[in-house]
Symmetry: D3
Subunit: 245 residues, 6 copies
Amino acid sequence: MNLLLINPNTTQRMTDALATAARAAAAPGTCITACQPSFGPASIEGFFDETIAAAGVAEQMRHAPAHDAVLIACFGDPGLDAAREATRAPVLGIAEAAFHAASFVSTGFSVVTTMTRTCVIAEHLLHKYGFERRCRGVHGTDIPVLALEHCDAQGQPLCLPQIEAAARAALAQDRSGAIVLGCAGMAGLCAALQVRLGVPVIDGVSAAVKLAEALVGLKLTTSAVGDYALPLPKPYAGWAQPLSW
Amino acid sequence: MNLLLINPNTTQRMTDALATAARAAAAPGTCITACQPSFGPASIEGFFDETIAAAGVAEQMRHAPAHDAVLIACFGDPGLDAAREATRAPVLGIAEAAFHAASFVSTGFSVVTTMTRTCVIAEHLLHKYGFERRCRGVHGTDIPVLALEHCDAQGQPLCLPQIEAAARAALAQDRSGAIVLGCAGMAGLCAALQVRLGVPVIDGVSAAVKLAEALVGLKLTTSAVGDYALPLPKPYAGWAQPLSW
Amino acid sequence: MNLLLINPNTTQRMTDALATAARAAAAPGTCITACQPSFGPASIEGFFDETIAAAGVAEQMRHAPAHDAVLIACFGDPGLDAAREATRAPVLGIAEAAFHAASFVSTGFSVVTTMTRTCVIAEHLLHKYGFERRCRGVHGTDIPVLALEHCDAQGQPLCLPQIEAAARAALAQDRSGAIVLGCAGMAGLCAALQVRLGVPVIDGVSAAVKLAEALVGLKLTTSAVGDYALPLPKPYAGWAQPLSW
Amino acid sequence: MNLLLINPNTTQRMTDALATAARAAAAPGTCITACQPSFGPASIEGFFDETIAAAGVAEQMRHAPAHDAVLIACFGDPGLDAAREATRAPVLGIAEAAFHAASFVSTGFSVVTTMTRTCVIAEHLLHKYGFERRCRGVHGTDIPVLALEHCDAQGQPLCLPQIEAAARAALAQDRSGAIVLGCAGMAGLCAALQVRLGVPVIDGVSAAVKLAEALVGLKLTTSAVGDYALPLPKPYAGWAQPLSW
Amino acid sequence: MNLLLINPNTTQRMTDALATAARAAAAPGTCITACQPSFGPASIEGFFDETIAAAGVAEQMRHAPAHDAVLIACFGDPGLDAAREATRAPVLGIAEAAFHAASFVSTGFSVVTTMTRTCVIAEHLLHKYGFERRCRGVHGTDIPVLALEHCDAQGQPLCLPQIEAAARAALAQDRSGAIVLGCAGMAGLCAALQVRLGVPVIDGVSAAVKLAEALVGLKLTTSAVGDYALPLPKPYAGWAQPLSW
Amino acid sequence: MNLLLINPNTTQRMTDALATAARAAAAPGTCITACQPSFGPASIEGFFDETIAAAGVAEQMRHAPAHDAVLIACFGDPGLDAAREATRAPVLGIAEAAFHAASFVSTGFSVVTTMTRTCVIAEHLLHKYGFERRCRGVHGTDIPVLALEHCDAQGQPLCLPQIEAAARAALAQDRSGAIVLGCAGMAGLCAALQVRLGVPVIDGVSAAVKLAEALVGLKLTTSAVGDYALPLPKPYAGWAQPLSW
């Protein structure tokens, strides 16, 4: 099974890290190809970043044909609906995947994310997807996305204690039973946090890999009828010319 | 990986058929054990049937310890919350599984089920789970559950044309992109309907198998904290005595 | 008028106490018969307990024919929909009755209940019934159900101060105008709390008695059409054999 | 027990008819006093009529002190919140009472009312009260309120066949199990319709009487704390001067 | 363009102040006429006050014919639907106008109002209009409406510091980006608060003036079809006789 | 006052037409500058088109500094949240503007749009903005966006009769009081339709112009605090390099 992982930002180091995280979750026989847009922001920390990144995801959908499923590895799920029009393979966003996974193992979960200003993006998604009652709180830590990878001399992520503290506070305040990590860049912290917190901790990258494998196993394809039909053929101008159908 | 499939009704033939359907969906290495309660209705076609069947699911949770995940194979997801208290393994209902799967491949889906009187059960679940906007309609056909298996001389299910017609009407009326089959007993019709209708058709039994494999692969367990903590120890009376914690 | 009160748990002392509470609320001429299942948990403090208890309520519906209405005296309303299928007499759950009563006398109410882990059960009911905006908070005290009846030397319930404190905190924090007692076992505390708090305090047992009298007085019966039609006739296996229709 | 029934319109004949309907529902020992505002519309068939009528209800609350509960007998529940501020006795609107009663005996009900233009008033109430999911449809018949009382030579209401037809259509189209009559003036049709339709038919006037008796029996009062506290003392100008607190 | 501003209370000083605020916001060429009911409360601080005031708004709609739009200048929007039936000119409530304006410049706003007991009125409006997710909190200060105009020796409103403090607390607690002033009497504080708080502060009176100018500019009229059709002709009794259509 | 109108598609003829429509609605003294992205689809008829167009809107925000407000003239409001981060001037989408305007003049409105496959985009917006109850239906006509401008020999748009018919059907079926035109390209049909249909017909382009004038008149700016704070400075790659903050 071939999965295309699109990192919507343009930081190669993060694309590599996401590929590593995805491969760690993948079943034997699942092959992960990772890519990133040819343009756009180095990280996604607001609506403007995300809007450009969504177009980057759409651009990278040109790689979709050779794959059995596509993963969008940014917690705002940028370009998800566009990507679903562009292929019949299943497409998953990591926020969506994490929310679904969390709702199977808890009656209510909390999200711990990076910049507080992006909480609203998660809240919009929760509401759009129907998880507004399952999610009991979205909590910002104001750690910049690219600072998530900073480590101490022992290779331990510097942000771990702060994220653990935010998660503990969220569990208590929200009466939650699980934690969703609100950023693709937190994938590497998941196992450690799960041990420390004693509740399920869901990383969207791994969740998306496994759910994609499940959908492919079910031979389900994105519906070709109606709202996700292929884009209508028409001219595209400028750099986007090759994206036209 | 060992999955426990609980058929909440007491019709052995249906338990066998569900096991067959589940095994067809399972990955190599996934072993399905099927069981059914020692008591309760031959089929589930209303609230009363379902309430007894939910207790039957709770009873069968005594088999859970040896398994990596548990599937509840009736479209009303009877006993789901109880089962989640009774084990740390992930537990999935087939309605829940089908709704989640359908929401990955369409902006809106329709449910086609058996008795019209059970539509309200699906509607309650959709609302409880947060899919009330994703699902655009629940449609009864008034085919009794146990009549789903009646076949003609060629082994073709007699109900197929009626269910196909109901699905076509639902797709048009609801402007939907996918069909969810609203009864465990319809598992065998899924492939044929998908070919005929040209849209994704989701059978909850297969969906639950693949999603269970995904959750186990993610090493996620039902949250031991809070709402799904193990039942409190206390005496149980009557036939239920051995169910006490 | 004959009312059947079903205590869904199997603690005879609690059945007796509920009957006493119901009789205190009943009009002259209303006769209360109390019963409890032949099986199931001694108290209901989670989903598992509740699922078995719901089947117990279904079992006890064999007594319904001789009665004008049926009350289910546990705050999770276990088996309510099943019971409504099994008789044309009106059936009321005490949570439902309390929520309705509270919404007539306040713009917003708070629930004070026993174990925090059961708050989610009340929240599911509020959402199912449509009271999710009227109820401004559900608050656990972590008093075990069967400890509610412990009294000091003067016969005063030991839990009263703790419940009063939780109710005061809820009124302030939720900006509420009324308190709903979230457990059948709290019926005996209602009058004292109402005096101490100076706001309406609603006990579901009394509320269900009076609302049942009202529905019987209105000659309303549970709808025989559609979702609450009588269960379909079919074989039931095991101990449940006599429950078959 | 003394109940004050306020007819919010100024048609004496209708006040009398409402009193008769209420007395027919009342328990022995319940005494109904009926009144109507000194000003306002002869019938209520839109927002403008209703706004004046609500002030009329507020005016008539001067009679409340001598009563144990107050009923507002117009299906738009005009002045309900104001009336609740003006007394500690329970106050019920007939739409509210009917919705509550219907939700005890069906999973879903339909409303059949008079002018189509007033459907939106019922829809606003359903939404405000939380019954937007329980009610599956509001249907206008465009019968003027005051034409409801027109009878043929045998004393049969002329509108009965039209309302019966609208109710049958609603039950089928909405998959409903009960009918709520959407106008106080339909009280006299309730029994006949219930026989003809074979489902519970709820008249708000009777429902309000019985629910008021229930609340009084429960010794519940409108919460004096917060949102329904007594009006603040202040000067009122013009004809409203005597309404000042 | 002629705008009719109706102050729903009967305090002439407040009518004058509202006219001044409205004129300050009006475009050149927009002429504001202010009026107040001939009856009703001196200020509106609860449901009872508001119900009488709504009838006062209906009364003042007799002045509507000569105007291009009508503004209702009390934060509870009393009589709004009635006023819309009574004219084809656009009608705006100031709460409604403020909510709309705030939702254009922030993802979430908070309301700061006068008496805590009136928070529920704003909450009902938010819910009715669909802003229940955009508004993240409604906060009372318990400043009486008529005390808003009390000034110190320098002509500075005495309430400014308290309202500023409440707004700051709301912004932090609700994670909001804008403040809506929850009382017509706060119009004069808007500019000063906006400077001090550094976020958009919306006064409903100014917002209603500008939105009314916009709607008139668009040549939009209140729909004459259906729910807002002119009131049906019928007799009105008592002081309301001249209001009949 | 200077307004920047961004046509999110790349059809110059449509940009010109939108500018003309906007200028027709603008007050004297309001100057409209129209632009279109340097890249992207010729028309927007699905999620993929829209995602690229949203990035085009973000690109064109470089012109925002010289303007008092910004309008996004495509009915999917592409890039709206991104644009709001990129300037302190108010930003309006035409769908949003139309929904707000319609809700001031009717209790319920219907949307008539172009391709049926784009109905879901309007439905998502309605839900995101909180108009899901105000809007009673979204109706596709399957007229391609660029075919809207095709005229007969007399210069009459060929699509007018079909859109009129769809609007009539929508008004009847949805019991609506107003029509919202679901495509920027329909601006030119608005006046004719309003005459023919006899209900308010709202064109989002004009509505956005007038609402922008209103917000500028109110001196309201997009909140600089929190969710709409300026984008964080960071490198952007590829063609998007100049968009970096």
